[in-house]
Each structure stands twice: as C-alpha cells, then as structure tokens.
Symmetry: D2
C-alpha cells in the first residue's frame, strides 16, 4: 500500500472561529504503477470522511477490517478498479466536521477543499488535473459533501458517489434535535456543553448526537456577523422546533438543492447513490426521494440498496469506486 500524508497549508481556514489548525493532513493513495510509469498522469477520486472522521482515519484498518488503502490495493489487484489517485482531505473540526461547506461558524472548508487541496494535489502529483479526470465520493456526511460539491462545482467534478449521504433532513436530522435540546439544557447551553464534551474522555451517545447537531448548525445556520455562533433549530428549553432556522437547514438539503442544480448533475458521467435499507438515519429513504426527483428531472443515475444499517458499510465502496474510476477514464493497472 502506498499512502502519503501531505500537508496543505490553508489560507481559507485562517482565523477560523473554532481555532482548528490551518495546516491540514491530506491522505493520498497512489496506484501501483505510479512510481514506475513516470510520465503517466492519473485521474483523481476525492473521498470524503463521514462526521467525526478525517481522510487519514479512513486508511486505518486492522487485520480484520481493511482500511481504505487495503481496499484500493485489492480492487486494483483484482482488476476491478482502474488506476486513479485517491485523495482524502482533512475537514475535521473541534465540532467533528463542517459538512464540507464554508461557514462563518466553523470555517471555510468548501473553499479549502476546492481551491486549496485540489490545486495542491494537481501541483504535487501527476494528475490529469481537469474536470473530466476528477470524481468525488464519500459516506454519510461525506456522501452529503460529495453530492453538494458535485452540484455546486460541476466544473471540478465529472462523477459523484454518495453512500448514505445526509438528505431528507426531516427524516434524518430532525429526529436528533430533541436529544440535542435535552443535552444542551442539562449542560447549560452550547459553550458549557462543548467544554464538557472536550473534557470527558468517555463521550456518551447523546453527547455525540448533540455535537453532530451543533456541527450541522454550524454548517447550515451560522449566525451572521457573529463568527463562531450558531442559530439552533430548536428552543433549548422546550425543544420546540424553530421553523425559521429549520428552513435554513432545509435549504442545504440535497433534495432542496436539486432543482437549481439539476443541470450540474446532468453533466456528470456518473451519479451513484446507495444506502442500507435499515439505515438508522433513514438515509435509504432520503436516497429514494432524491432519486425519484432526479429521474423526474430526466437526469440519469445509478441507485442501489442493500440489507444493512448505517455503520460498518465500507465494503460498499467496492461497488462505487470502480464505477467512479471508470467514469473518469481510469485504466486498469498493467
């Protein structure tokens, strides 16, 4: 396996309100022929980690659970996967992530990824360095990021895969809000909660859920003019939904973004979505809704379902990665 960790120094993240580092570790997997085919240029697949993860973490497997590198090695070896460079950026934040968007509450991760990481990789490695040689994919928050970035940057990406990507927020994110409301109330608000979270080595399930809700608020409903502050889509005291804030969240739901960005997806050589039919966040239903709307708009896509839940489904990448690679012109290893 050949995984390189590259540091990309970010200007976009300078002065980010959470104080997260601006020097970011990007994990890069190079295909087997890379060192010897010294004139060959390769397509690039950008792969986005889910909430709470980093690109580098995707590569840490163990003898019984292959990491992303082992998986890529196997796929190339078996002939299933054409050779491409895989780039896994680090968009982790103190709140666990940023949904790969720009936000005054968290930092400018969309800009960091699109305008800093991609050019850096193109400069430092023999990439094709053009839209038709670039795909993006990921799971969960990473599936959300892949789909949203493909919609917003069709000039950068020619294919997209979303595994159980966040969408249909009223079926997925909404049901976490009561947990967040109760937890924040008990801890005495956002700041006290974050302090508690960071101080406790054993984080409860409710703590994780609450932090994930905060990260979404950071991405979808930052307070304008008050860096680092978010509007919550619920009343902390009663849990009542604040529909005005919720509307801001929904504006970022891929299903809502779709009408205005159908053209971008139509330009894709591949739009791939999947989810397990027991997905605890109901993202299988999200994908069904998205796909139905996509087809209604006359945009082709590939949609799969499988019998599993939300977690532990990295084996699904074996399906999407070869398709993505093929879509952006990856040729088999020789």
């Amino acid at each position: 396996m050949s995984v390189v960790i590259e540091t990309v120094e970010s200007h976009a993240l300078a002065g980010n309100p959470l104080g997260d580092p601006t020097a970011r570790q990007v994990a890069i997997w190079l295909p087997p022929s890379y060192p010897r085919d010294r004139d060959r240029r390769y397509p690039v697949i950008v792969w986005l980690a889910g909430y709470g993860g980093t690109g580098e973490m995707l590569f840490s497997g163990n003898p019984w659970q292959p990491g992303l590198g082992t998986r890529l090695d196997r796929l190339v070896e078996s002939g299933a996967l054409g050779e491409a460079i895989v780039v896994a950026p680090d968009c982790f934040t103190r709140w666990g992530g940023a949904q790969y968007l720009d936000s005054p509450a968290l930092g400018n991760y969309e800009t960091h990824l699109c305008a800093e990481v991609l050019p850096a990789i193109d400069r430092r490695y023999r990439t094709i360095g053009a839209r038709d040689g670039r795909a993006i994919g990921g799971k969960s928050s990473g599936g959300f990021g892949a789909l949203v970035l493909a919609m917003r940057h069709p000039d950068l990406f020619a294919a997209v895969a979303s595994h159980a990507g966040d969408m249909a927020f009223e079926l997925s994110a909404l049901k976490d809000l009561p947990t967040a409301a109760r937890t924040l109330r008990r801890r005495g608000g956002v700041e006290a909660f974050v302090a508690h979270f960071e101080a406790s080595e054993r984080k409860s399930g409710d703590d994780f859920t609450t932090m994930m809700v905060l990260a979404q608020a950071g991405a979808y409903s930052p307070e304008t003019g008050r860096p680092g502050r978010v509007a919550l889509p619920f009343d902390v005291d009663t849990g009542a939904i604040d529909w005005a804030v919720w509307k801001r969240w929904k504006a970022w739901d891929p299903i809502e973004l779709l009408p205005a960005h159908a053209e971008a997806l139509r330009r894709m050589k591949l739009v791939f979505l999947d989810a397990g039919t027991r997905d605890e966040h109901n993202l299988d239903l999200g994908a069904r809704i998205f796909v139905a709307r996509l087809l209604a708009l006359g945009v082709a896509c590939e949609h799969q379902e499988f019998d599993d839940g939300h977690r532990g489904t990295a084996y699904r990448y074996d399906v999407s990665l070869p398709k993505l690679a093929a879509a952006i012109g990856a040729r088999p290893a020789r």
Copy 2:
C-alpha cells in the same frame, strides 16, 4: 378490590368500518364506601388506556406490578385519594385504538365515550352526574385523549391529567413514519400489512410501530367518503412526507388545538401534565411546549417531570389521581 365490568351497547359504533364490536366492556372501580353508603353519590374519574390497550387491561396487574385497582385501593387506604368512581372505557380497535376521536376510518369513539359510556355510568351508578364531579386522565394516547376531550368537552369534565400525552407530533409521531413507510412497502400496502399483522402471533417492533401509525392516520387523516380508508402522511415508496396530509395530523396536535380551546382549559379546576425526561417519544418536550403556550395564554396548570422513559410509569398515577379526585370534590373514605 371492587372492579365491575359493565357492557355498554354502542349505537355510535354501529357499522364501524373495521368490524369492531359494538358491545363494549367498561371497567369500573368502586370506592370502598360505595356498597355501604347507599345514599352517597360519587365523583367520576374517566381513565383512558394507551395505544393498544383497553380499560380492562389497566386492571390486570400481578403480585409485583400492581394493576390500577390495587393502586386505587392503596391510595384510598393510605388516605391520599378521596373516594371517586373510576371508569375505564374500551376504545380498542383492530388497529389498536382510535385516539378517542370520531373517525370514518375507525369508528366514533369520542361520541361513544361522551354520549354513551358516561350517561350509562351515570344511570347505573350513584355518580354526581355533573361536570364539576367529573375528571378525565390517561397516559400516552390516553393522555392525548384526556387532554383533547377536556378541551372539546369542558361541559363534561372539570379536571384533566395527561401523562406523557401525544403532542408536538413533529418530535414524536413524525419519527415513526419512516418505519411505517418501509414496512408497508415490504408488505405491499395497508391491507396486506394488516392481514400479515393479524396472522402473525409474534409481532415485531416495526409491526407495532406501523400499526400505531395506521391508527393515527385513521384518527387524524381518514379519507372522506371512503369509510375505512386513510390518507397516509408519507409516500409508501419513497417515505417522502406528504405535507398536506401531515397538516391534517398537526391540526389534531393538542399544541395546535390549544389556542382555540384555551377557554375550555381555563375553566378546568386542574390541568395536570407530566412526562419522563427520557421519554422515547419526546413527550416530555411536547409537555414543555404545551405548558409554555398554556402559561403564555394565562392558563394555570401543574407540570411535573421525572427521571424515566415512556413505559412502565403507572406509578405516576399515584401523583395525578389524588389531585384529580380533590379537584372534583372527592372526599376521603371514612
């Protein structure tokens, strides 16, 4: 313990679309002095079972889990509870309940309870037989029923207790819809699902949830002009929320009913709400929202929270029953 099962023959339920019986078994608990104080008249507490239950089932306890009768005996014996007659009607349906409402899809249970059961009890027993001597309470769907009937019939009831009553549907009922959508899709629609449900002795948790969603659809969004048919607040194929149908559900949310019925609640001698702060259906948040709105309208109420979930909380009746009884003039046993 003195529990009598009275049969009340219903006209309101005649021809109900689910084919449920019209002869209903009403469980009646008589206070200790009832047989000997032969001239005394007693106030009445109507107690409503939760989804899937009947009044009679409330009385079936075991040596380690007291039924409602044992609980009432104890409360009277200890001096905590004034003497009142407790009436527990049977509004069970093939779909598990009817939310104590009239519906062309399920049957007219509101009418049955208010216009048939109450008069029958007043005729057959020495009740006070007037609004000021009548209270209503219950848990879960029974708490919903109590609150809604109190709001809609302030001429019948003078006090109300809602334990973890259904409300704030977007925090409680909404999160069950994905399960119902998937289950109905797998079973091939409502009729096929109901047939499966009735045929299987081991009902799964998803089956129960789906049936509960159907019962709510029966109560909140029956199809007009097509008895026994319901409009579902979601698309069976994708799980997408049908917001038009959902609006019909929300119209029955006690929180939505409140503005138009504040006057009814203001007339109550007691409005009592509680819920456990770990309620799996988030009904503690529902109660918080309801209470906040109630207070904003200048209506007094008593609101309690306790450290528990939704199930197994009948011990909370020890708090509400004495308060209800006192509010409607129950005097201690002599």
Copy 3:
C-alpha cells in the same frame, strides 16, 4: 372461554417462611362440552407458569396476544385439541416462585400441587382422576417443574411437555450468579435486597435476575434447620463460586436427575421437549443434552427446535397441548 378460579386451601404451605398465603387460586379451563356432557369425565393437563408468574396470569391475554384460555378455545375449535381440563396452579412466592419443589426456605409447593391441588380438582370436577388421564407441562421454570414432577411422580402423570425448561445449569443459571453477587453486595445482603425489591415499583433487570437466583437458592440450597434461609452458590463479596453449594444446585438439574428417574420417563406416553435456538438462557442446549442422554438410555422422546428466543413463545403450546391431550386419551369435541 370458560375459566374458573378455584381456591384451594393448603396445609402443606401452612407456616411457610416467606409468609405467602395458604389459600391458593387455581385457574381451571373447562372444555366446551363440559357443561352439557354431564356424565363425561375428562383427562387433566396441569400447566405450570414460568418464574414470576401464576396460573391465573397465564390466562390474561389481550386482543393481540391470546391468553391460554383463548389459545385452548381455538385449538379445540379447530379440531386440533382433544377435550381435557387444564389446571394452572398458583405456586408464586414473595421470591417469585419455588421451582415447584418442597423447600424449608420457601414452602412445600411440590406437596401442595401433587397432594392438594390435584385431589381437590379431582373432587370438584369430573376428571378421569387417574395417572393415565393426567399430563403436565409448562415453560421455563414451569418446564423444569413439569419434567421434574413427571420424573418424581410417574404415578401421577402419564405425559410431560417441557418448553425451554431449566436445565444444564452450568450453561443457564450459572451466568446469572455474577449479577446476583454484585446486586446483593450493593444492597447489603439478602434481606436488605428483598426489602429494596419489594419497596421499589420499578424493578431493574438486575433486580429480577437477582430475585430469580434467590428463588433457585431457596429451591435447591435451603439452609437446613434455619427456615427461610438459603445457602448462596457464590461469595457475595467476590462472586467466587461456592462449588459445594453449586453441587446441591446441580443435584436438581434434570440432566443429573435423569439417570435415577429414567424408568419414570420410560413409562410416559409422551416426553416432549422444545426450545428456541436463540434462547437467552441456552435452554436449547440444555434440551439437546437432556435428549441425547435420554436417547442413550433408550427412552423415546419428541424434541423440537424453533427460531426464536426465550420470551413470547406461548405459540409453541399449540404444538405440545394437542400431543399431551392425545397421549392421555382426550377425545375431540363433538
């Protein structure tokens, strides 16, 4: 359904150390022809409740979960079940049961059942009143009781059914001992624990497990000469197994009782065992071991397995009851 509750006043239980009542409520189901065939005599099936239950509780079902009476009605109606009287005794104790044995720690429930309940039923009802017209069955602790009483009283019973009956204690009971040790340590010993248990309306799973361990200790390892006291098969402070006491438990394991009672089982017209292959107490393995030993001794039996756990498996009685009834000469209803 025709269920009668008969009171049997017990001499065997007089002065029992837990202070449990001596007047016991025995639930009796009479077959449809009983009232009209006034000269007919019927075989008797004794049915034993599991730990924590009484005979009467077996009959409390609800519209979605048939009680034993509804189940018997259906079976007779469908022609599957020959007509027999079903007798469900009450051997509940303050500790939840007594494993249907005589014990100085709990009371003499084996004597009560065999020498008091059976004769009382034979006197009060038109039973065949002889061994060949009597069968015994039950589930869990009731399956244990059925098997052990059949082994010890082949003069009383001619057929036996054990559903997931307690056996192979090293695979089932042993793994509950650590929970009991910890709980008793925390509560400060047996007496303090029992007081806590009885005072708390919400009993935790650990509390139930601990009480169940106590009931077994009461049945298997009572202290001699100190009524109401038990020897525990573990050290309360460390949880270390006390192998001397454990040996007393194992002496009551049906698998250990088998060699000395093989002849009794050989005389049975039916020995039926089953268990679910996901039984949480590993009683499917217990049954496999018992059956293997039984066959090695040349005793015939019927052994079934099914895909389920330990709880909620009353539907299995539909298999055993008709077989038991047939074995003791029950004829179909006319």
Copy 4:
C-alpha cells in the same frame, strides 16, 4: 509523539500452524528526552493489546479518542509519568490472538515476546536492560498476558498491571461457550467457521465471540501432536461442557496459577489490578477473587474498581502507567 515501528524477525514463530507472519511489527514509544539525552538508559514498560488487537493498533487514536502515544505524551508532559520506553508487541494471529502463550495450535508467542522482542529492544534502544527496569501491563487478554508472564518470568519483570485481565474463567469465558457451540454447529465445524469468518467482511458479534473462544482453545487446550488443532471444551452438537478439556483451560486461569507462582508476584515491586464494576465479562469479580487469594497468601497488591464496563476504558491507563513507571525507576522528564 515519537512512535517507531520496529520489525522483529521471529524464529519462535517459524512454521506456526496458522501461517501467520514471522516478521513482527513492534510499536515503540520513546520518551521526550530520548533523542537528546544520548547517554541515558530507560526502563521499559511492555504493553499488551487485548484480543483482536496489535501493539500498533493501540497507538491509532483520533482527535476525540487519544491513542496510547498521545496518552503517554500527555502523562509525561503533566509530570505524572516518569520517562520510560513503552514497547507494544504484535502477537496477533489469524484467530485474533494467542493469549501471549506458547501453543502448538497457534504459535510460540510467549517465547517470541520474552526471548526475541525484549532482547531485540534491549539491543536496539538504550534500555536499562534488566529485570528491575522492566514492567508489563495490558488490558483484557493483555491483562491476562501481563499477569501470567509476570508470574512465569519474574526474572524478566519487576512490576505488573492487569486491567480487566481474563480470569475466573467460570464467570467469564464459560458463558461464551454456548455461543461458540451454536455457531460452530451452524457453520459445520472449526474449519468451515474460520473460512466463513475470513470471507465475510461484516463479522457478527457471535462470530467474534466464537473466534475468541477458538483462540482461547488454541492457547489453553491445543491438541498434542496435531499442530493447529484444538480440543474444544464443549460438544459442538449439544453444547455440553467437556469437563476434561475445561480443566485444561482452568489450569491457565491466573487464579489457579497463583498458588504455584505466589513467590514470583511477591518479588514484584507493584502488582496492580483493576476492572469496571459493570464489566460484561465479570472480570471485576475475577479481580476480586484474585486479590482475595493474593492477600491470603500475604502478597501485597493495589486493587481498584471504577464505574464502567469492559470496553473504552483506556483512560484507566493514566492510573497504572505512572505507578508502573515509578516502580521500575522511571524518572520525570527534565
């Protein structure tokens, strides 16, 4: 953080029956002063991973869950931990581990660790290189390994820490045997099961438990003269315990090893044991039993309990590591 991965080529593991690699990756953490204090020699703490893990895996943390390296850095920085070299060997096998013992079924991991890894580290790094400068610790199977190796090699180690170490097998390992019996039966025996396990990317909880039982059988009850074969302590068909094989297991229970090795532990400068009082494998009770016997033998030890289960308790190392380090003469960083 300064973690080095050293390869140690093993002769002891040559020809091991599972075909596991002989070149082993040992993770080594060097204290802050190591690079600059070029004449200083350091004590060594050997830290053993639990079942299913490797030394290297102990170091892979994430921003919210510190790995062992981050933990050591913090401890040194805060002044709590004296400077020592921490060595985390790789004794992983295809069956998930070998309990750090020599076995004809798995390979000679005790020899590998004691006679190959330790000397290699002493050669390659500036260690004190003597018993009084060496401690050993670990959690779960690693806690077992630490305790057993300390007992068997008091010439190599002068202090030991066992976090929730395997012991009192009748309370811990025994209750996993039924799961293993059922799983092996369903899969058609050991070989078919292992093939299934290795082929399936999603391993179930029962699969993990079964593999863990196999690894223990490999360590405790290998078949003599048939490399790679194990005797199972149960009958695969019925689940009946094979007490003869079980006796071989129990011979490796630290509690059984204790009497013959008390002298070795008496020589230790520190014997530390802990476990969470909700340990799912009851290892808190195991520790209580071990400690009681140890004290009865007049051997001093430090015993702690804490309110947690078996998993996710690496924060406990913050307690043991400083004590171990102090016991073997580690001095604070300057």
